[in-house]
């Protein structure tokens, strides 16, 4: 998978997968990416966002938790 090659080329230790809820192709591909990252044993964070999203507090907490997991894993 193309993104897997790019990840290993650039030495990324984790990935963020995000798609707009109104973008079906993006949502479909999230599954392919997450499966490939599972196989590669790479930690990743999945999120979906709304076009008119105005509150980011929840997203911030989730991201902070993800970062802490990577830092202290």
């Amino acid at each position: 998978m193309a993104d897997g090659g790019r990840r290993s080329d650039r030495g990324a230790q984790a990935a963020i997968l995000t798609a707009a809820k109104m973008c079906e192709p993006g949502l479909d591909e999230q599954v392919a990416y997450s499966r490939a990252l599972d196989e590669a044993g790479v930690p990743y964070f999945v999120s979906e966002f709304e076009e008119r999203m105005s509150s980011f507090d929840h997203l911030q907490i989730q991201l902070e938790t993800f970062v802490e997991n990577i830092l202290f894993d």
Binding site: A19, K21, E24, L27, D28, Q30, A32, R35
Partner: protein
């Protein structure tokens, strides 16, 4: 498939024969799965079934498999499995039901389905392309996507003889020529152009009867329900297109419906309101959805579904058999374009039907699962209302996912719609 279902009474024969043909079709798929054979996976908008039959591929329509799980009230099990696997609640539920099915080794309420040995699709729906990528990843299935040029602007269709049309046809024909050696390699069967011509002849003959069926519903009362009965007709028209069974089924259906029309037999006790249905049906409440209309004497006499999901069978057009490849390309181009036009220019499609079918109202059924069909429906309703005095009801539910179908809410809106239609009728008397 050999032979026809046994003799039956004329009334209701279309439904029982259709169900029998379906059971046979799925039994054959089940047997193919048991033998470990793969199938050609195709979609209703541009299936190319006529060509694929020449290579003896079992043909699987994932859209039909998925809607069957909803009608049989088990769709949620498949959807849950796909969401657990990672699919978002916001993607096409037909796709998710298929993912659930593949994860279960092809286990379906109607039998086991063979895995995809080949996927052939068009660009009629953007989801088709992402859907086939899933099989590519799961099974390394060869995928052939036929790029079919669409209508450039509303009302801007070109026809044979026009230079633009001829360029489009040549483009599609070349893609079909490239598909044939792939089919030969995978099926280990040589392409037989006479067999293709025969399959296209059968599709032409089926199309003649299919059009007659649609026209018979111009009678008052209408002899069939375009949503409930129409879905069965669509299943046969798609799944068995290009076969003797499909041709005979529709010839019998014309006979049955002509008899019903001559006898003045409708689908409800008293037909009061003639309605068009736009969008994809509410399969999780398939019968109940219709009852909410029939209780008021409302009958769906026509639908855009019968147009965009019929593989072009409803068009007044037939394959040119002199050169089957060019004829097939022309057919694919016109049929897929027609399907897309019915989704993207739904207001124009229903406007053409309004007088022929003496419509009293239009029901727009937007579904969460399908943006392609649903996104333009509110605009179509508004656009049509500026040109025609034709009441419209916009409902929002789903074609698969019962979690987003609210029967009570729909019933309130349907009842209010009929109150309005009744007041309108009374004011006219």
């Amino acid at each position: 498939m050999g032979g026809r279902p046994g003799d039956q009474e004329s009334v209701g024969r279309g439904v029982t024969q259709g169900a029998e043909l379906f059971r046979r079709w799925f039994a054959e798929l089940d047997q193919a799965a048991e033998r470990g054979e793969g199938a050609a996976y195709v979609f209703v908008m541009g299936s190319l079934g006529e060509l694929l039959r020449c290579f003896d591929f079992p043909i699987v329509f994932p859209e039909i498999n998925s809607l069957q799980t909803a009608v049989r009230r088990v769709a949620h099990e498949y959807l849950d499995e796909a969401e657990d696997y990672g699919y978002s609640p916001d993607v096409c539920a037909y796709v998710k039901a298929d993912v659930g099915l593949q994860l279960r080794g092809g286990k379906h309420p109607m039998g086991r389905l063979p895995r995809p040995a080949l996927a052939v699709l068009t660009n009629a729906c953007n989801t088709y392309i992402k859907w086939a990528e899933i099989w590519e990843r799961l099974y390394q299935t060869p995928v052939v996507t036929i790029d079919v040029p669409g209508t450039r602007y509303a009302g801007g269709q070109t026809w044979p003889g026009d230079p633009d049309f001829e360029r489009d046809r040549a483009y599609v024909a070349q893609q079909i020529r490239e598909l044939i050696p792939i089919c030969e390699r995978l099926s280990k069967r040589k392409f037989d152009i006479d067999r293709l011509r025969e399959s296209m002849t059968l599709a032409n003959e089926m199309g003649q009867s299919f059009r007659h069926v649609l026209e018979l519903n111009r009678n008052r009362p209408a002899p069939f329900n375009a949503v409930t009965d129409g879905t069965i007709y669509l299943g046969v028209a798609n799944g068995l297109r290009g076969t003797v069974d499909a041709r005979e089924y529709f010839a019998d259906l014309v006979e049955e419906l002509a008899d019903r029309a001559a006898e003045g037999l409708g689908t409800v006790h008293e037909e009061k309101f003639r309605l068009a249905f736009l969008g994809v049906p509410c399969y999780p409440l398939f019968r109940r959805f219709n009852e909410m209309f029939s209780a008021w004497g409302g009958v769906f006499v026509t639908s855009t579904y019968l147009a965009f999901a019929s593989g072009g069978a409803g068009l007044g057009w037939e394959y040119n058999l002199a050169d089957p490849i060019e004829g097939l390309a022309e057919g694919l181009l016109i049929n897929v374009r027609h399907a897309m036009d019915n989704m993207f220019f739904a207001d124009r499609a229903v406007e053409l039907l309004a007088d022929d079918y003496a419509l009293d109202g239009v029901v727009y059924h937007a579904v969460k699962s399908c943006r392609t069909v649903s996104t333009g429906l509110a605009d179509a309703r508004r656009a049509l209302s500026t040109r025609r005095d034709l009441p419209g009801l916009l409902l929002e539910s789903d074609m698969m996912d019962r979690r987003v179908v609210s029967e009570a809410q729909m019933k309130n809106r349907i009842d209010a719609f009929f109150e309005g239609l009744r007041s309108r009728s009374a004011a006219r008397v």
